[in-house]
Symmetry: C2
Subunit: 144 residues, 2 copies
DNA sequence: CAGCATCCACATTGATACTG
DNA sequence: CAGTATCAATGTGGATGCTG
């Protein structure tokens, strides 16, 4: 019976590891800010509050669905505040919280790192790709 | 004919914006490190070189597919080096490069931020959720 | 204006089976 | 041991149409 047990044990290991991952704060944060739209929204709002339509115009590539959805999660996570002004056409403003502001600060760090190291990455890619193209025979891969 | 033109213009705006985004270094990097597996692999390798099977055991939740795939991209981007030792059962080691090491450093920054601010996020969520639960009538949402 | 609901296309990932 | 190849499930995001 050990055959089955081994598989079962692996599965349990995975589950617990996944559970652990789900709780990891830094991992959560990373997932959070790494969303394309969250990043862009934080950047757009860093200059000051904006209306829904302003954001829509500031980031032309976002669909209302993702715009709304992203703003909701950000609001829920305390990164932005949503202010509704009851008028004839309703007016909704979004503004960074202090927490959101500090996240922008972190993203700036990331940005700086990226800009100072991206050359290395690009060159590494070029090298890797040229090596791959010049590959002797190898195990008969795609390009065969 | 302006009706069509407006839509077309929006589309073009999006395309160019998307093209811009695709080139943005910090955005690329963010996408890179925010991959679940890349993060975990960097962390696992930060202590020193490991073999393929070691990594597999260190991160029980990863499938060979994603393990290999992630390692390949990381290798291509110059974050790790792959060393094959021709023996009877082949031996392959993975090791962080200097570039990979500095990325680990960045991730540490992110981790620190996350750990020091995650409480705020969690509390914001609790508040938001309780407010949502106490919602007066609203526009007849899910929980209706 | 600001948003929600629905349907759908596509990319990402996981499970499985096989190989040098 | 260290992968490759393939298929199926899943989720994420986009387009569209409608509302207060």
């Amino acid at each position: 019976m050990p055959t089955l047990t081994a598989a079962a044990r692996r599965e349990r290991e995975r589950d617990s590891y996944n559970a652990y991952l789900a709780e990891c704060p830094s991992h959560n944060l990373l997932a959070q800010i790494s969303s394309k739209w969250v990043t862009l929204l934080l950047a757009a709002l860093s200059a000051g509050p904006l209306r829904y339509s302003d954001l829509s115009r500031a980031i032309p590539s976002v669909s209302q669905k993702m715009l709304t959805q992203s703003l909701r999660t950000m609001e829920r996570d305390g990164l932005v505040v949503r202010t509704v002004t009851a008028a004839v056409p309703v007016r909704v403003d979004y503004e960074l919280t202090a927490l959101g502001g500090s996240l922008v600060g972190l993203m700036t760090q990331v940005k700086d790192w990226a800009e100072s190291h991206m050359d290395n990455v690009y060159e590494a890619r070029r090298e890797y790709d040229s090596r791959a193209a010049a590959e002797p025979v190898a195990t008969l891969n795609k390009r065969g």
